[in-house]
């Protein structure tokens, strides 16, 4: 059995002569190819990432989440592919696979093509698929005889689908015409293919050489399908009305995001306006035990001051990076966004933003926050998440990590006292609200960490015998060290950061190893909190999903194991060249012990 499997896995490498894009029409708006997927699946036993993934409970979790119909479909797929889905896909995509789609009068038209490991395997797989159709639908087998035989291709027309096999080539299309065109292109009789399109060729030229899957999207063309989308995504002043009937058009939500203030503040302007790019390319690859997926947007126009540039100052990298549950570094020039609000946002949003800042001014003793405070905040912000240290008998029943925001202040002598005063005013307002609800107030006090004063708002100690509510995760604190303002959800974290900053009085590059914006999540640290709150998570699963206790426990355990498997998840955005943005997600799995290379002992 083992030998048979090994023989099966001896699959030819990708053929340089086969370019799937040659079979795809030049009018395609979206194109996906899998240049090395077959190879990867074929040697997956030697791939650290595949081994780590196999050892994780992800597969079991996904399987449990599938309904009966999905499970049946997967079983059918495995049957068609010859028993093992992974091995079958390795054969199917052994020499490359491509898929192109465009939209005609609002409806998708597509061509998909694969060049399999060999003709015999492909023929057998197609026969198994047709047998399955006969068995499941009860139709007569004769109805599934090839409808056509031209230029050496067996052709079937199955309702809305057209299918052809020629040698080791399989083509699937949304119409007989598209199928014939693809076969003609394969025979070299139809020159106009996507592979001949200059912008496409240029984009593919930058493709990672080891990409498992690569995709290209003509965003400008997709956007043109949305009558109001193009102008909106570019943020032009003459067209700012929300799409009246564009909700169902491609990219409608992303286009709307381009003028949404929340998206600009949360995601940053380049990402909020990503639908305004001319093309997107997406590349997925595996590197050791890490999976890396990158989306690059080209032809992106971002107003001045809103691209992540400049030299951040005085915000330290964490002293102990291993302690972090998460670490977020972003570039948000809040003042520049405010100043350019009329150009960036829909007209109806602009007065609301002004009103919001006017309300905020009340907390700042009448200071004009938008005009006087925002310009003094540095554009680089860091949010650090670490375990909180709770006082005795104050550990909440649901324990959460603490988070703190670090901001570089341009004029700390003026700005820091304003922010500290606003912090104290906010606590006072909160207390008034809590008093109305007959809840106990937060006690405002000033603590010291070395020479640094920290404003702290502490909840009163719970009475003996009473539960410690989630609100006890909140011991908000605010301090400033030199140019750096620290605003945290828990006093203990603010104290740690004060220590970090005072220990490194010299300004340091906050970005350290970070290039551009970055969110880093550490799976094992997050898993610690899942374990601490296991009972609550199990109960929550029962209440949310209707699972039994056993089912909920199994799912929660699997989630913990899976989280531990992810050593780190890193999301970054960078600007590789002018008018481009790259959004990258990298998942680093913990390698299973058996796949780690043995360490060489020093002699």
């Amino acid at each position: 059995m083992h030998i048979v499997l090994c023989l099966l896995l001896q699959i030819p490498g990708a053929s340089p002569s086969f370019d799937p894009a040659r079979l795809i029409p030049a009018s395609a708006m979206v194109y996906v190819e899998a240049p090395h997927l077959g190879e990867f699946l074929g040697r997956r036993g030697d791939e650290p990432f595949a081994c780590a993934l196999g050892a994780s409970p992800l597969g079991a979790l996904i399987e449990e989440g599938l309904d009966a119909e999905a499970r049946k479909n997967l079983a059918n797929l495995a049957e068609i592919l010859g028993g093992s889905t992974a091995d079958g896909l390795a054969h199917l995509a052994a020499r490359g696979a491509g898929f192109g789609v465009t939209f005609r009068r609002g409806k998708p038209a597509f061509v998909a093509c694969v060049r399999a490991s060999d003709e015999a395997w492909l023929t057998a797989a197609i026969d198994r698929a047709l047998e399955l159709v006969v068995r499941e639908s009860g139709i007569d087998a004769s109805a599934l005889e090839p409808n056509d035989e031209n230029e050496g291709a067996r052709t079937w027309y199955l309702g809305p689908l057209a299918l052809a096999q020629r040698g080791d080539l399989l083509v699937l299309a949304s119409s007989p015409g598209w199928l014939r065109d693809a076969l003609d292109r394969d025979a070299g009789e139809e020159p106009e293919s996507l592979a001949g399109s200059a912008p496409f060729v240029a984009a593919r030229g930058a493709r990672a050489t080891d990409a498992l899957v690569w995709a290209w999207m003509d965003v400008a063309a997709l956007r043109s399908l949305n009558p109001k989308g193009s102008a909106e995504a570019q943020g032009s002043a003459e067209e700012k009305a929300p799409p009246a009937d564009g909700d169902e058009a491609p990219l409608a939500d992303l286009i709307a995001m381009g003028q949404d203030p929340g998206a600009h503040y949360l995601l940053g302007t380049p990402l909020a306006r990503i639908a305004g790019a001319s093309t997107w390319t997406l590349s997925a690859r595996v590197e050791g035990s890490a999976f890396d997926i990158a989306l690059r947007a080209d032809g992106l126009t971002v107003p001045a001051n809103l691209e992540p540039t400049g030299a951040p100052r005085a915000l330290p990298a964490p002293a102990d990076p291993g302690a972090e549950c998460f670490d977020l570094v972003v570039h948000r020039d809040l003042s520049a966004i405010y100043q350019q609000r009329a150009e960036l946002f829909r007209p109806e949003e602009v007065p609301q933003i002004a009103r919001g800042f006017a309300d905020l001014s009340l907390l700042f003793g009448g200071v004009d926050v938008a005009e006087e405070l925002l310009p003094k905040l540095g554009p680089w912000l860091r949010v650090v998440g670490r375990p909180a240290r709770f006082d005795a008998n104050r550990t909440p029943e649901i324990e959460l990590p603490a988070a703190a925001l670090l901001v570089d202040l341009d004029d700390p002598e003026t700005t820091a006292p304003q922010i500290l005063a606003a912090f104290q005013t906010t606590v006072g307002v909160l207390n008034a609200d809590r008093a109305q609800k007959r809840q106990q107030p937060l006690l405002l006090s000033v603590a010291r960490e070395g020479d640094v004063e920290i404003s702290v708002a502490r909840p009163l100690a719970p009475r003996a015998g009473e539960g410690i509510d989630i609100v006890h995760n909140l011991v908000p604190a605010c301090a400033h060290v030199g140019r750096t303002l620290i605003l945290g959800t828990h006093e203990s974290l603010v104290r740690e950061l004060v220590q970090d900053l005072t220990a490194k009085r010299a300004p340091s590059d906050m970005r350290g190893d970070v290039r551009g914006e970055r969110l880093l999540l550490r799976g094992p640290a997050v898993a610690t909190y899942l374990v601490k709150n296991l009972d609550a998570l199990v109960a929550n699963n029962m209440l949310e999903k209707g699972h039994t206790a056993e089912e909920a426990q199994a799912r929660t355990d699997a989630l913990v194991t899976l989280t531990r498997t992810v050593e780190r998840l890193e999301l970054t955005t960078t600007t590789p060249i002018e008018h481009a943005l790259e959004l990258r997600a990298r998942v680093q799995l913990t390698e299973p012990v058996s796949t780690r290379p043995a360490k060489t002992e020093p002699r």
């Binding site: 029943e397 649901i398 009475r463 509510d469 029962m542």
Partner: protein, 439 residues
């Protein structure tokens, strides 16, 4: 004993599927097909006794929910309670807990403390079938109730009458059984009872220790004494007896039955179990006038439909569905509780009922890939479209005598592509029918 409350002696054939379903629907949240089968097999007496036997609640849910409540989300609390109702571990106790939640209506909207609401709910559960006197005394000291009806503001020299007024008007006597002066004097007796954090606190220095006259009796009464005076009024037992009959038997119980049940209460030492058992075993309860005589409240309706179909369904979503129909657990609209009756089926609520019930049948019945029991697995899967129609009618509306609805269901089944599709459609038709809204 009034004939209406005399014990029901089922004639041969009278303990049928419809009777068993009626008992399980009124004394709980509806029986699953398997539970109705079991009740039929074991007979009426054993089925009635079985309602007072309870399984322990799910330990994992209890342990985890306690922690989840630390999050302060009242929707979690509502979901937790709905999970208990759906579990069927103690259907009668949960049904009576819901009765007392409506009777001593307290809303999180003012209390603002989920743990207090949880503690009150447990108090109702603990005394649901116990001694009403103990329950009433406990409610008067319950922190959630004290916060809801301003106990902390009720101090000597400046009495707050809220609790005293509702004690007489809604909780124990009813309008006409007391005077305005009784309310004011009772409020004085209750001064000093308030909260300290999450607990009850009696503050003697805030108590008005002077003489009071309440319901014809005079003395230096405190809170407990005035509650005892209220309990001693004949109107009190009648008020509670009527409430129990309305909730469990019929919206307009005959006066004689109210008097008789009031006597059962007082003769049994205010045993709610004795009163409930008397109702559930009575000729009145099984009379045709009592069958499908009440409009099912949203919580009852949601729990019954999910249990009858046996589908996996999120308790939180179930509680949210009941809220959309007009019954938000832990948030009654006022101290009077929910109006009930026809108020449950105003236009908006009716649409919400139809939406929920049709989507429950269409999207969940037989759709789940796991091994949980549902209507299709509790017994043989329907072999034909016609069998699917009969299964839906028999299991969801046992004893239905409306041939018009049956004909509609049977005709609809014929047009379906498969028996499974027919079952889903027929279940949806039956559950969205006017008859199914009654209990």
């Amino acid at each position: 004993m009034n004939a209406a409350l005399s014990r029901w002696r089922p004639r041969p054939g009278a303990w049928d599927r419809a009777a068993a379903a009626h008992l399980l629907a009124r004394a709980g949240f509806g029986g699953t097909p398997a539970e109705i089968d079991a009740a039929l097999a074991q007979g009426f007496d054993a089925s009635l006794a079985g309602l007072f036997e309870e399984r322990a609640p799910d330990a994992a849910l209890a342990r985890g929910a306690e922690k989840l409540l630390a999050g302060g989300d009242v929707d979690v609390l509502a979901g937790w309670w709905m999970a208990r109702m759906l579990s069927g571990a103690a259907p009668l106790r949960e049904r009576m807990t819901l009765v007392w939640h409506g009777h001593f209506a307290t809303s999180w909207d003012k209390v603002s403390e989920v743990r207090m609401m949880h503690a009150q709910n447990e108090l109702f559960r603990q005394h649901a079938l116990g001694d009403f006197r103990v329950l009433l005394h406990a409610v008067a000291r319950d922190p959630a109730m004290l916060r809801w009806l301003d106990g902390d503001d009720n101090v000597g020299g400046r009495p707050n009458e809220n609790f005293a007024r509702e004690l007489m008007e809604l909780f124990a006597l009813g309008l006409g059984a007391y005077t305005e002066s009784d309310v004011k004097e009772a409020a004085r007796a209750l001064t000093g009872w308030g909260t300290d954090g999450m607990s009850f606190a009696s503050r003697p220095r805030r108590h008005d220790a002077g003489p009071k006259t309440v319901l014809g009796q005079s003395g230096n009464f405190d809170g407990d004494a005035v509650i005892d005076i209220v309990l001693a009024q004949p109107a009190c037992s009648r008020w509670i007896a009527r409430r129990l009959l309305v909730e469990l038997a019929m919206p307009e119980p005959p006066p004689g039955a109210v008097e008789d049940l009031a006597r059962v209460l007082t003769d049994s030492g205010w045993s709610l179990r004795a009163a409930v058992e008397t109702i559930l075993a009575s000729e009145l309860f099984f009379s045709s006038a009592a069958r499908r005589a009440r409009v099912a409240g949203p919580v009852e309706l949601v729990a019954r439909s999910v249990r009858q179909l046996g589908v996996r369904f999120s308790p939180r979503l179930a509680a949210a569905a009941a809220a959309r129909m007009g019954q938000t657990l832990f948030r009654p609209p006022s101290v009077k509780g929910w109006e009930g009756g026809k108020a449950w089926i105003h236009v908006g609520a009716w649409i919400a009922r139809q939406d929920f019930l049709s989507s429950l049948a269409a999207d969940h019945l037989g759709r789940d890939g796991d091994a949980r029991t549902d209507l299709t697995r509790a017994r043989e899967r329907p072999a034909s479209n016609a069998a699917a129609a009969e299964m839906a009618l028999l299991q969801l509306l046992p004893g239905l005598e409306d041939e018009r609805l049956a004909a509609i269901v049977r005709a609809a089944a014929e047009k379906c592509g498969s028996a499974d599709d027919a079952l889903r459609l027929c279940a949806a038709l039956v559950m969205t029918s006017p008859e199914y809204q009654l209990v």
